[in-house]
Symmetry: C2
Subunit: 317 residues, 2 copies
């Protein structure tokens, strides 16, 4: 399948091959990052000075609204302008139905053999955290390998997915007629206002009223110097993104966004590592099990138990 | 407003007054917990042996589906059976529209003067975490003060809200015709299957097809020894909850659920404290700012910066 993707000799270091645009090196690098392999972190460290050039565009919205079809259209458009594209799908598969988005991903298969397009999905790994962090590392690898538009696709339900969107320069919310819950969440201020909104399946008879409803919700919000476009055809989405990008570049907010996102990434990574350290230090610890048993028996309250755990951990050093 | 609620002398210790069912003491206790006041943690520690008697019932679902009307009906039902009720609403107000659920809460006002009912809302405090933990502490205070049914209301969007539901014995998902996004999320396995589903606004012409769609989604899932009822009238929800409760008590899974929930609470509290410690140790630290500046300039990658932060923190001890 990947014959002909090997532009450089496999004897060269991974970072060098990745920087030269070798697809196989990029795939290998993302796998390392996904597995939390120390070699993955080392790779990102090495290529990091060569990142920051790509546009990071985040796509969110409920499942089934046609995000992947839209990504396919945007990929086609970018390729016609000779821009290289990376697509990163965060797949929140559960034990209930595994690989829910697989069908969606297949719609991107037109581009599987295109050297200028790299498509990858990562499975979200439960509530433990660390997914958002791994996804950004993967996006950095795509950036370093020469991808100019990086499309981050998530399903906007869990916090982990929302965190990934926090790493985007431009956030696109994808809806369709029937996405009443999302419109209610926007209206109630529970979902953050994105930069661009698309109502997919535009031929549906209820599209007009949905677009009107969304515009009404946006009109209630605070006045900003960017007017969120509510689009209804795939062809206009690329333009909407370009305009938002031009706006944030000109207003100087692109740099602010990136600074904030990078700081959140550093803090997020540190917090995830702390939590992993904690869980590792507790696993299989007989004393900890006894502590938890006392909580279950209502002898010791949860907060005191947490405090005792942290004290023990400090003492162990 | 609260005249006549003072059953015991205010000179008695707070814990004693709370345990005797004094509404004002309960209000004071929850405020302490909400403000992370050490006196709040001490109070929970003191009353914790007297908890574990109440039924914890969690309600989730998108905004605008009529959760609070349903809670009102369930409260009325419980009162007619002489059961005391605590209602805890997690209000995810944002800077965009503050107090989004206030209108809903007003529907519960029938019960404001009822001694056997205590209604409280807590605002969610951003992505920092700790909300789920504070909410459970508040629920424990309600339990100790003699509330027998504790109704935890959240909006099922962010992870923090979902974590709160993790503390419930029985989880009720509230939907309405138009909740297409939630049904898609259930179908895709992104939203966990609840114990009871209610489709509110049952007179809507699309209710029948929505109930059928949900039953179809549930039929695709794994076979479990509990069949999730899909209900459509407020009157049947109380029965659905009672039946689920009887089922988990009989099957012995109530105890398992509580054990798992308490363990998650302990780990969650420990993780939140670790993160707070980290953020406190970094705030206003000149060296940290310089570290972050190097990340922004692409001189130092985020993971290495996180590692340096953690090393510094260890060194500071």
């Amino acid at each position: 399948m990947e014959a002909g993707t090997e532009k450089t000799s496999p004897e060269l270091p991974l970072a060098e091959r990745l920087l030269s645009g070798d697809k196989r090196a990029l795939a290998r690098g993302i796998t390392l990052v996904e597995n939390s392999d120390p070699a993955g972190w080392a790779l990102v460290r090495e290529i990091y000075p060569r990142t920051g050039k790509a546009r990071m565009i985040g796509f969110t919205g409920p499942p089934g609204v046609g995000k992947s079809t839209l990504l396919g259209a945007l990929t086609k458009h970018a390729r016609s302008c000779d821009r290289e594209v990376g697509v990163l799908s965060i797949d929140p598969s559960s034990p209930f139905t595994q690989g829910a988005l697989l069908g969606d991903r297949i719609r991107l298969s037109d581009h599987f053999l295109d050297e200028g397009v790299y498509i990858r999905s990562m499975a979200s790994r439960g509530a433990l955290g660390g997914m958002a962090e791994a996804a950004l590392q993967a996006a950095l690898l795509m950036d370093a390998s020469g991808k100019q538009d990086i499309l981050l696709e998530t399903v906007g339900v869990g916090q982990a997915e929302i965190d990934i969107i926090d790493h985007a320069d431009t956030v696109v919310l994808v809806l369709m007629p029937g996405s009443g819950d999302s419109v209610q969440a926007l209206k109630a201020g529970i979902m953050e206002i994105p930069d661009v909104i698309v109502v997919n399946k535009a031929r549906h008879p209820l599209t007009d009223s949905m677009v009107r409803e969304i515009k009404g919700v946006l009109a209630l919000g605070p006045h900003m110097d960017w007017t969120v476009p509510v689009l209804r055809t795939e062809a206009t989405v690329g333009t909407g993104i370009d305009e938002h990008y031009a706006h944030i570049e000109q207003a100087g907010t692109l740099e602010d966004r990136r600074r904030r996102n990078l700081m959140n990434e550093v803090l997020g990574l540190a917090a995830v590592r702390l939590r992993r350290e904690l869980e590792r230090s507790l696993a299989g610890d007989q004393d900890v099990q006894e502590l938890l048993e006392r909580v279950v028996k209502r002898e010791l309250d949860p907060a005191s138990a947490a405090e005792l755990l942290l004290e023990r951990r400090r003492g162990d050093r």
